[in-house]
């Protein structure tokens, strides 16, 4: 098991190196210029050129990439061109809201979607099944920002139960923290619930048709033990896969959700950085997102081998 985990972990190193090169190259060839944005609308072309030089943006690609990579290997992601703050500091400022949003969405989606999918499979063809699938189709079809606006209109503007925007740090109290997260989590969770519920249903339907389930029923086992002890474990590989894949979906969704609910998270940080061409921030955050994604995939791979030991061979 440990050898398998070590092998998989090592395989992530070239992936991260490729990501680093790709991200840097992409930004190098992308249009736009942070110097023009710093200079503002009143500046002349000469002013912009002078600022470019002062930022070191006129140096060759290889020099800039080598320098950046060297710093990254030493744990330094650079300094924001605009805010003059270390990128690691800016990420640290924003990691809590994003982690809170993603973790709560993950928990919320799994808690809702897995039982819903199991129930839909167990009652295939019934109104429960149709209702779950209808909700799943809606969850898939309606964009996150629409769900977000509707939720904010109902629960913040009309009922005045929850705030429209913002984030309260966990240190200020669990209740206040949760209060600010409810709407973003529900908005972001909708599509994720739809995805997991559909996959759970499909995987469960396949398992429920197998002989050992019929045997369990014949033995007189209750519905709940059959579904949650015997069937769900064997259906879990595709469910775990889709949860892992969904993290990428969650990262993309978090960018939109953080904008709609003005959550000061990493998603908004990277959007702002892209609009301003704040290269060190874009590179740092992209590298971080890639790392998270690679780690999640690693965890998923390792979980496979726990759920199905045959995979290790």
């Amino acid at each position: 098991m440990w050898r398998y985990a070590g092998r998989r972990a090592l395989a992530t190193v070239p992936v991260m190196a490729m990501v680093a090169l790709f991200v840097f190259s992409l930004l190098y060839i992308a249009p736009g210029d942070p110097a023009a944005i710093i200079a503002g609308d009143q500046a002349s072309a000469e002013d912009i050129a002078r600022i470019r030089v002062s930022l070191g943006l006129d140096r060759p690609f290889v020099v800039r990439f080598g320098e950046w990579l060297w710093h990254v290997l030493h744990g330094d992601l650079g300094t924001s061109i605009f805010a003059n703050l270390p990128v690691t500091h800016m990420i640290a400022q924003r990691i809590e809201p994003t982690l809170s949003l993603m973790a709560m969405t993950l928990v919320f989606a799994i808690v809702v979607a897995v039982p819903a999918g199991v129930l839909a499979a167990a009652r295939a063809g019934s109104w429960i099944d149709r209702l779950v699938m209808l909700v799943a189709v809606i969850g898939f079809s309606v964009p996150v920002f629409v769900v977000g606006y509707v939720l904010a209109w109902v629960f913040a503007l009309q009922l005045d139960w929850l705030p429209v925007q913002g984030y309260t740090p966990l240190a200020r109290g669990v209740l206040a923290w949760l209060r600010g997260l409810v709407l973003p989590v529900v908005a972001l969770g909708a599509i994720y619930i739809a995805l997991i519920a559909r996959i759970t249903r499909a995987a469960m339907l396949e398992v429920l048709g197998q002989d050992y389930i019929r045997t369990a029923r014949a033995k007189g086992l209750g519905l709940a033990p059959i579904l949650f002890v015997h069937a769900l474990k064997n259906a879990s590989v595709p469910i775990v896969t889709v949860i892992g894949l969904g993290v990428a979906l969650l990262i993309g969704g978090a960018v939109v959700t953080e904008s709609v609910f003005a959550i000061p998270g990493i998603g908004r940080l990277v959007v702002d950085a892209i609009l301003r061409r704040d290269y060190p921030v874009i590179q740092g955050v992209t590298l971080l997102f890639s790392f998270v994604y690679v780690v999640v995939n690693l965890i998923v791979d390792l979980l496979y081998s726990v759920l199905d030991p045959r995979i290790r061979q």
Binding site: D33, Q42, L157, Q165, F261, I274, L275
Partner: protein, 527 residues
């Protein structure tokens, strides 16, 4: 683990009291939604309006313009100008100190003006005429010039970036092309760098030792009395979220509500909507004068003949006619230099046939014309769409390039041919405060290669600008403005697409919000 009923009740009661505490705090905190993200605080190295607006709380200028566009002493006690306007002597008012407790001295002023004069157009004019800028003592300093300069007070008090903000000497020594890293000022508010989350929040705290001037506040002039302990800028990039937050009382003041949401905000009795800046903005269709067909003045005049300001303004302002007006001038409507001389081609029904003929005379033969449109900004997107339609009507083969402002901002600086990374047309707008005279009006410069993007070359405009600088009285200034306007239309420096204002919105319990070229926080209080 078990919970006693009393513990649960205590926990719930504690949770419920949080909003009450927050409400008490809110009375001393002003929550403001700025027009854009505050990415830096250096209004000398950068010219973004949002940066200028924040910097104006932290730093001050020697003079400040009031609502009649007259510079009034701000950090200065007063000045003496020699009869020939070659020597200007200033004295700082007593009691000025930096946020770190040090006194403001002439050395700080000289270092700050040295930095500003590198970046600002008016500063550059002063620099070309400067023999010496010298300290007389800790509170007095003097400009010695080799040519008269009558606009000194206006230059030192100008409200647009690069502003002549006075910084501590150690900060002012920063390269004018690099952003400052230290935010110690002498203004009424201190910047809390430790609470700054770029893209999300910027916090300003009252500077207890600040001594406001005795006069009442009037734009950037007069006493800057702060009625809040803290001003929190909350960056809400999504307009719908900002609108909802204002309606819900989560923020107090929104600088730039979009026209689409204004009717909704007006229906809310807790919200007030009013014009933000009486000086508004001038829409601009900017052409590249370096390459055909627009290197030929006839092609540029064809654009003047075909451009319909009502179409542009309807696209920008929606159905709200109170927000806009047509303008036959390069100067801000309602200000002293406004003149319509020379603007006849923009007047009356649009002449598409005439424009086609002029284009053909200029040698245009169906080549692709690159129209760069920043689609992430509603104003440039709306104007770009109108231009695409107008160009199609006069037979132009339009290459509509949908870009973001970051890309347009960088690409417009390229002087390469349009087919090789350059461009023909882009849209922008100029704050009316910048267009009240030629001093801060870089878009009006027509000095060829050194002019603003598009690089118009019009000796007549340049002569007019010089005449304005040397004008000794209002009549001479007006005469210069008339000459500039005529020449700018004759050579089509750019195509004015109309004059429009924008709204601001705030919670009804705020008093003292005024119409000004920038959000004026002093004097605002909770009623």
């Amino acid at each position: 683990m078990s919970f006693a009923r009393r513990d649960v009740l205590k926990f719930a009661a504690g949770a419920l009291t949080v909003p009450a505490v927050a409400r008490a705090d809110a009375a001393r905190v002003l929550r403001f939604v700025p027009q854009a993200n505050l990415s830096s605080l250096d209004a000398v190295a950068g010219t973004q309006y949002v940066v200028r607006n924040a910097a104006a709380m932290v730093w001050e200028t020697l003079y400040g313009v009031d609502s009649s566009f007259t510079p009034q002493p701000q950090m200065c006690e007063g000045h003496e100008a020699s009869a020939d306007f070659r020597t200007w002597t200033f004295r700082l008012r007593p009691g000025l100190q930096w946020h770190d407790g040090e006194k403001v001295t002439s050395r700080d002023v000289i270092a700050s003006l040295d930095r500003w004069m590198v970046r600002d157009t008016m500063g550059q004019v002063i620099r070309t005429r400067l023999d010496a800028l010298e300290a007389i003592d800790d509170r007095s300093f003097r400009f010695r010039l080799n040519r008269p300069f009558t606009k000194m007070l206006f230059a030192l008090g100008k409200s647009n970036a690069p502003m002549a903000l006075i910084m501590p000497e150690r900060i002012a020594r920063t390269d004018p092309f690099q952003l400052i890293r230290d935010y110690v000022g002498s203004g009424p508010m201190k910047f809390r760098a430790d609470e700054w989350v770029p893209g999300s929040r910027a916090v300003f705290e009252t500077f207890a030792a600040y001594q406001p001037r005795p006069e009442p506040a009037d734009w950037l002039a007069g006493g800057r009395r702060m009625n809040f302990d803290r001003i929190e800028w909350q960056i809400l990039p999504d307009a719908a979220t900002a609108g909802a937050a204002l309606q819900n009382g989560e923020v107090d003041w929104w600088e730039t509500p979009i026209p689409d949401l204004v009717p909704l905000l007006r229906r809310n009795r807790d919200v007030v909507v009013d014009i933000a800046d009486p000086l508004g903005n001038l829409g601009s269709l900017r052409v590249n004068h370096l390459y055909p067909p627009f290197s030929d003045v006839r092609a540029r005049r064809a654009l003047l003949m075909a451009a319909s300001q009502p179409d542009y303004m309807a696209a920008v302002c929606g159905g709200d006619d109170a927000l806009w007006q047509t303008t036959l001038s390069f100067f801000t409507p309602g200000t002293p230099l406004y003149t319509e001389d020379g603007g006849t081609l923009l007047k009356g029904a649009r002449d598409y046939a005439g424009a086609r003929k002029l284009l053909a005379d200029a040698g245009y033969n169906g080549e692709k014309i690159i129209l760069m449109v920043a689609t992430d900004l509603p104003i440039t997107k709306a104007e770009g769409d109108v231009t695409a339609d107008m160009l199609a009507r006069i037979g132009v083969n339009v290459d509509y390039q949908a870009l973001d402002w970051g890309t347009v901002g960088a690409r417009r600086a390229k002087k390469d041919p349009p087919g090789k990374g350059g461009w023909h047309i882009f849209h922008t707008w100029h704050a009316g405060a910048d267009c009240i005279n030629p001093a801060a009006y870089t878009a009006l410069d027509a000095g060829g290669a050194k002019a603003w993007f598009g690089w118009p070359d019009s000796p007549a405009v340049e002569e007019g600008i010089l005449a304005w600088y040397d004008a000794a009285d209002a009549a001479a200034e007006k005469a210069a403005a008339v000459a500039i306007n005529r020449a700018a239309f004759a050579d089509v420096v750019y195509v004015p697409t109309g004059f429009f204002r924008q709204y601001q919105a705030w919670r009804r319990d705020l008093a003292g919000v005024v119409r000004a070229p920038l959000p004026v926080f002093w004097g605002v209080r909770r009623s």
